[in-house]
Symmetry: C2
Subunit: 217 residues, 2 copies
């Protein structure tokens, strides 16, 4: 084995550390959750539906690949994404997966039962309409995530409070609901509820990560 070969092997080995971090479904889910804002271990565990021990182990892996950072605050340990590049990577690997894997596209189709309930994907015109008040952009994520970052002109009503706060919504306008991104089903469920109650609602299957508005630092 010559010298160049040894150096090369070292290089690819380092890049593979990132790939390895991204090779577990739960770790990817944790990255997406952290794209919404910093969170404690047990918040992450609850939202990813795993035990705290397992969450802690996965977060340890993500930290050793330097994709997330931690800070101790009182008795809590707060995890956050290292920087914007990590969020872009998540959006990128997901889009490659959707491009290459038919199986994934099939699961997504199964998810979106009625294509008419989807918001048009043109960001500029959505922002223009929201500014003028022609539509209402509704953020149904937990309040802390809304505070960390949200889409322009969005209003916050967490999905759990939606049923009780229907009066805050305009009957005439279209409500554009969004949450953590295309793999998060809160907004989809919100749209279903709103339509049942007679509102005109569509699902925007994007979030702050897709819009490049991830909160960091």
């Amino acid at each position: 084995m010559n010298d160049s070969r040894r150096i090369k092997d070292l290089l690819y080995e380092q890049v593979a550390r990132i790939g390895k971090a991204a090779s577990s479904p739960k770790r990817l889910e944790l990255i997406e959750l952290l794209c919404q804002g910093e969170k404690t271990v047990d918040t992450l565990a609850r939202e990813a539906a795993i035990s705290m021990k397992l969450a802690s182990a996965h977060l340890r892996e993500l930290r050793s690949a330097r994709l997330v950072e931690t800070e101790k605050r009182g008795k809590y340990v707060i995890y956050r994404i290292a920087n914007r590049a990590v969020a872009d990577f998540w959006v990128g690997i997901r889009s490659l997966a959707e491009d290459r894997l038919v199986e994934l596209r099939m699961v997504i189709e199964q998810m979106v039962s009625h294509p008419k309930e989807l918001a048009p994907q043109d960001r500029d015109s959505l922002v223009r309409m929201a500014r003028k008040g022609d539509v209402m952009v509704l953020d149904v994520r937990p309040a802390e995530e809304f505070l960390a970052a949200h889409l322009p002109f969005a209003r916050s009503i967490p999905i759990g409070e939606l049923k009780l706060r229907l009066s805050e919504l305009p009957k005439g306008k279209t409500v554009v609901a969004y949450c953590r991104g295309p793999y998060c089903l809160m907004a989809r469920d919100a749209v279903e509820l709103l339509r049942k109650k007679g509102y005109e609602a569509v699902w925007l299957p994007e979030g702050v990560a897709e819009w490049g508005m991830v909160p960091v630092r």
Copy 2:
């Protein structure tokens, strides 16, 4: 376990297939090689310095993640990258790794012994100078890779033939040598040789993948 959870798990599981494919150093090296153009299994094995059996096993993994495609031509099986998005993913994960991992930056620094031997990274002005003939862009990869795709105005002299074909190079002009990308050391070695022989040569640590010129189909 509820229904949404099951769907979510399926989604992240699919994306993780891409991450898993990218979690092995040798697989990443194979992807980079395939970014230079289609290749047979034993060419890939030779260039990645592994056995054909191992190459075949890794390629099988890459194919099951739908990142590469195959075609049988006579007694050879030809592998190629599925599309441009795969090359972009490789460039992307590498750049994230360089951003996040100090260890990787340290290996790279060790590689570039003399920073003066590096070409300036402004693509537009490099192309302009090459068009006017102020510099000579030299592709030192194997001839087939040059044929599959190359940087604008580049000339091909494979690294192995360089010593015998020095007369084809201009003494007065700067030679800008490139190869497969920053982790390929052929161009670096070429620059070292040329400088010893009295030529003015610099290393462009980029290739067709970085320039978005990957050959596909």
